[in-house]
Symmetry: C3
Subunit: 208 residues, 3 copies
Amino acid sequence: MSSSERAVQRLIYVTDLGGTAVFAFEGALIAVAAHLDLFGVLVLACCTAFGGGVIRDVLMGQLPPSALRGWVYPGTALAAGAFAFAFASSVHVPPKLLLTLDAAGLALFAIAGADKALEAGVYPLSATMLGTITAVGGGTLRDVLLAQVPGILRADIYATAALAGSAVLVICRRAGVPVTIAALGGGLTCFALRLLGVWQHWQLPGAS
Amino acid sequence: MSSSERAVQRLIYVTDLGGTAVFAFEGALIAVAAHLDLFGVLVLACCTAFGGGVIRDVLMGQLPPSALRGWVYPGTALAAGAFAFAFASSVHVPPKLLLTLDAAGLALFAIAGADKALEAGVYPLSATMLGTITAVGGGTLRDVLLAQVPGILRADIYATAALAGSAVLVICRRAGVPVTIAALGGGLTCFALRLLGVWQHWQLPGAS
Amino acid sequence: MSSSERAVQRLIYVTDLGGTAVFAFEGALIAVAAHLDLFGVLVLACCTAFGGGVIRDVLMGQLPPSALRGWVYPGTALAAGAFAFAFASSVHVPPKLLLTLDAAGLALFAIAGADKALEAGVYPLSATMLGTITAVGGGTLRDVLLAQVPGILRADIYATAALAGSAVLVICRRAGVPVTIAALGGGLTCFALRLLGVWQHWQLPGAS
């Protein structure tokens, strides 16, 4: 393995881990708001954090999924979930900070997922889909467990931002752009689209 | 590979593709009726079209699932979904035509799924289950995402028709009947049972 | 394969099968109460019985899942489901008996799942999670199909008992305790915790 391949793998690892903590924290907050007990809060923290990556790994046949290899991923998600459970009422997280961190997590998951799929030889269109699934699959699974129609299906530029970021990364990499630049391009596309969408109240069209 | 094996593989491919378009179109119409946005409509089109086949491929360990190999399957489903989104209000599809096409899709998915499972060496009872899952899994996943109890669990001769068609194909093939005749027998069983069931208002019994 | 390894495998097989019948019976009763038809009752029987083990096998990449190998597992679940469907109104099962059998099934699934994961070389923390998923995954899937928030996320010492039993088995086996004693320890921990929890109305804390 060359040093650049090692750098790519380390990038994927670190981005995955940072997004894991943010998503677990958010999932736990939503579970607390839904009056789940401690076990339910930790489950929803893990589902939100791992769901997308696990679905991606299952679909790619890379099993067991990376979330179950070693204790770092589960440990990170459980710690973030427990923190949210313990301090949900006493710590006030500014909504804009959470929104920004979530947009960063979304971008990181999308490009990490799309890149992992490309590296495994998945076709470009499918790799773009898998990047999107990595980014939004966890939140979708969480909403299903709460018996709600997943928010991403109805409103907001959220999944669309993940899709655009994944597509940019896939197109760049297929065009021979170095992976770090492709990842930056895809990640910034997703991050900027998401924040612009919230700021400008963008909505996708519904059918007439 | 002999020419008859190639014919079988081509048959499976074409039936899968035809059913994909019909199911994606139907899923998109239901998503439009549920007031989802464009992204949600395309997701539900893909889930309805691919869901059953993806669950089958995951359970059989044939990963990535056939729906993610190449761009033909995703492209077909996305095109059918986008068409339904764009013309949902201006094109009127006669309910009886949609019902008949859906019954055909159901039959095609059931026999293609059961046959693929048999070819992979799955046991007959499990192959029958996998055929049924291929046929009704997508609609079930769509209903779960819409936070509804899947219709197939409650009413109508729908899943039962898929089960009967799958069983006929499995029994015929285990008895040495040539694959084309077994597929015809299974497909017509499912198709006829479904249409007869709607026409005669057949219901499975509920518990007393 | 040594005779002790064969004994372990046989133990896993028998425990899986006993739990399958109990869980299928319970799932079918809940489906009858939700006014599903015969097909829906059999599907929910199978989902409750197999769901956890299938999710475990998918995550471990051991495909097709053991529930689809041969006819014994599906046959057992279908028979238990059909029995519940036929006699739901005429046979009265004392709630305490059902509760005790369910606690036994929970314990058996948890230790069988955790042990299978350990045997396959999964990390201890993940093996504990997989044991818990094996025990509660089926009921969770059933609740999702009924469009309800899974009970295990909200109340009762149920998943927590499965988690504790799985953890005891994993810790014992990593400490070199023979498998039969580790299984007994884990199983009794889960069984006792569950029954004590019901008796004493224990609840996990919710967030303040």
